[in-house]
Amino acid sequence: MKPGTLLRRFLTPGFVVTLRGYLKYGCLISPKAEVEITAHLSIGRDTVIGSFTKIKATDGPLTIGRHVEIATGCVITSHASGVAIGNDCLIGPNVSILGNNYRYDRLDIPIRLQEKVSPKGIRIGDDVWIGAGCVLLDGADVGPGSILTPNSVVSSRIAENSIVQGNPGKVIFTRR
């Protein structure tokens, strides 16, 4: 990690990040959240980011739309292929949106030392409601109007207006 990043991470008080977020994006970031405001990060107006949520956009583009509500305890990280969250989304507590992945094709090297990849990235459409504890992994592409029920795990394409449940997440109903 670069010394500048390290210093910024440890020495920037939460209320400064809140103020920067409000002035730069017009969003509300809890002083108890940990948001790295980098060139990769973009947040829409009136988005709210709850306490103890960590948003890390150091490795790739991370776009959060307008009027998105992110509850407490979430983790959102992006990698090269990026993470894009649409407008008007609801993200429940303790949701993990993890845009990075590791190669694991070699047995002679620890996985942590193999290349970090994100071949597909993560896309979340407008008006998506993600229930508490859901996990979205590289390749997740959630269509607009969908609902992920609590603790669902998604890493593939979900058609619009779907209601998804389980691990792996399966469509149990389509809103109409």
Binding site: T149, I163, Q165, I172, F173, R175, R176
Partner: protein, 82 residues
């Protein structure tokens, strides 16, 4: 398909989704009688009925299904309309 066959098939679908014996499902069987009949399994039940009978319920109908009688009536209405 006769109405008794429709009844029997509705009963089988409900039994499979709600994890109750088909014999225990009859007139007067309501949501409260099946502990597994929660909001998620309600949606599973609707999807399973749609697949079994090749029909499509409206959201209003989905919200109105509170008992075996409701389910059977809604299915019959769709089959008659087809």
């Amino acid at each position: 398909m006769s109405w008794s066959e429709v009844d029997s098939r509705v009963r089988d679908v409900m039994a499979a989704v709600l994890d109750v014996p088909a014999g225990g499902i009859g007139n007067g069987f309501r949501k409260d009688d099946a502990p597994a009949w929660d909001s998620m399994n309600h949606l599973r039940l609707v999807s399973a009925l749609e697949e079994a009978f090749g029909i499509k319920f409206t959201m209003k109908e989905v919200g109105e299904m509170e008992s075996f009688d409701d389910v059977r009536r809604k299915v019959a209405e769709h089959l008659q309309a087809a």
